[in-house]
Symmetry: C2
Subunit: 233 residues, 2 copies
């Protein structure tokens, strides 16, 4: 949809799910940990439960800029709890190794060309709920480029806290109404909208591995809905 | 000097002076403001005085992450004081316009190829004493790429405060002894060394417009001394 002039001066991207597929690499790691006899349906359910546990878990963490509990470590903790729910026993070292899969996310195919085209016209930044080092490594690994990598660790707090969106705009030197938050998760876009940002919903049907577990914006809650980053307004 | 494997895992760069020439664009702007009758020697002296004033000034600022007084605004304040010292009267709007030159720095010729080569082997980040928006715009304007743009604004404090160097290493996911601070200013490298970082001194003979005003590491105080980023160890 871009035709030489972008609609907004800056685009702020959620990463996990929106720019990158976590389900494929994490499912692969869980299947490997559980061994060849594991039921694929159970593996998928465990990955989805692990993802939910992560989100609930980080909202309970008492974080600050000075003292940061690494989000990647909370995946290890979470896998322990989820395995217990599923009646599965995995040794600690296997859980640690399996949790590393959350640092090996894979960019959806539209992301690299989409970001590159967008970046020739506007400021492109991340705003992710993870650790800085993880995000820097992921962007290097997936050969993605941004003007600024911002993550929760810099703020000592997680989305959807409002001040993260406000301060991201300050850091980028852009008024919220001249910028857009881009995400596949409604909670993220709703919070961004409250500080005046425009909203771009990205439909990722396989984010959770099954179309029936996907989230869509069928009612047109947000300013724009896209299925491919190359269609970004 | 790079031969396929970099010596360190991450390189942290000072920007103003080290990666970019401020003297040329700022001198041009000051000469323009003072008009065709201005003595070039006076213009040069004023630029050097302005630069010194900036450094003294930011160290006195009471900054925080929440409330940030834009460094770029302190250039406007500083120009007022420096003009007074020089017995020069410039209207406020001319001072504001002239101070914008500090947002139009020019990368030294070795910087773009040097950073690109380095970045194929190691993490490359900035740690600059300026505002985030200025640095993001400068990197875009000069077509430079980094894995992370970090500036004083994110920390609410300026170099050479030690915690900036420590936390930069945390953000990059690297132990200080596996990383290097790269700068043309001894005060910056000395502080970095105190937290365990390796030090790369970059000799920039024309940083202040005249070789006699340059700073060198003739006594070998730092781990490495280079004159071209392509020679980075």
């Amino acid at each position: 949809m871009l035709q030489g002039v972008s609609r907004y001066d800056a685009y702020i991207f959620d990463v996990q799910g929106t720019l990158m597929d976590f389900y494929t690499p994490v499912t692969r790691a869980v299947a490997h940990a559980l061994g060849p006899d594991a039921d694929p349906a159970t593996v998928g359910d465990l990955v989805r439960a692990w993802r939910s546990d992560y989100y609930e878990r980080i909202l309970r963490l008492d974080q600050s800029v000075e003292k940061w509990y690494r989000v990647q470590d909370s995946y290890v903790d979470g896998l322990g709890d989820v395995c217990e729910q599923f009646g599965i026993d995995l040794p600690k070292d296997v859980r640690v190794e399996t949790a590393r899969a959350w640092q090996r996310l894979e960019a959806w195919p539209d992301v690299r060309p989409g970001l590159n085209e967008l970046r020739s016209q506007a400021v492109v930044a991340t705003l992710s709920n993870t650790d800085m080092a993880t995000m820097i490594a992921l962007f290097r690994d997936q050969q993605l480029e941004a003007d600024a990598i911002l993550t929760a660790e810099l703020f000592g707090a997680f989305k959807p806290e409002r001040f993260l969106y406000e301060r991201t705009c300050r850091y980028l030197g852009v008024d919220p109404f001249r910028a857009a938050m881009v995400a596949s998760h409604p909670y993220d876009l709703r919070a961004a909208r409250e500080v005046g940002l425009n909203t771009v919903f990205v439909y990722r049907p396989l984010e959770n591995g099954r179309v029936e577990d996907s989230v869509d914006d069928t009612e047109g809650e947000f300013d724009h809905r896209i299925e491919d980053l190359r269609d970004i307004p």
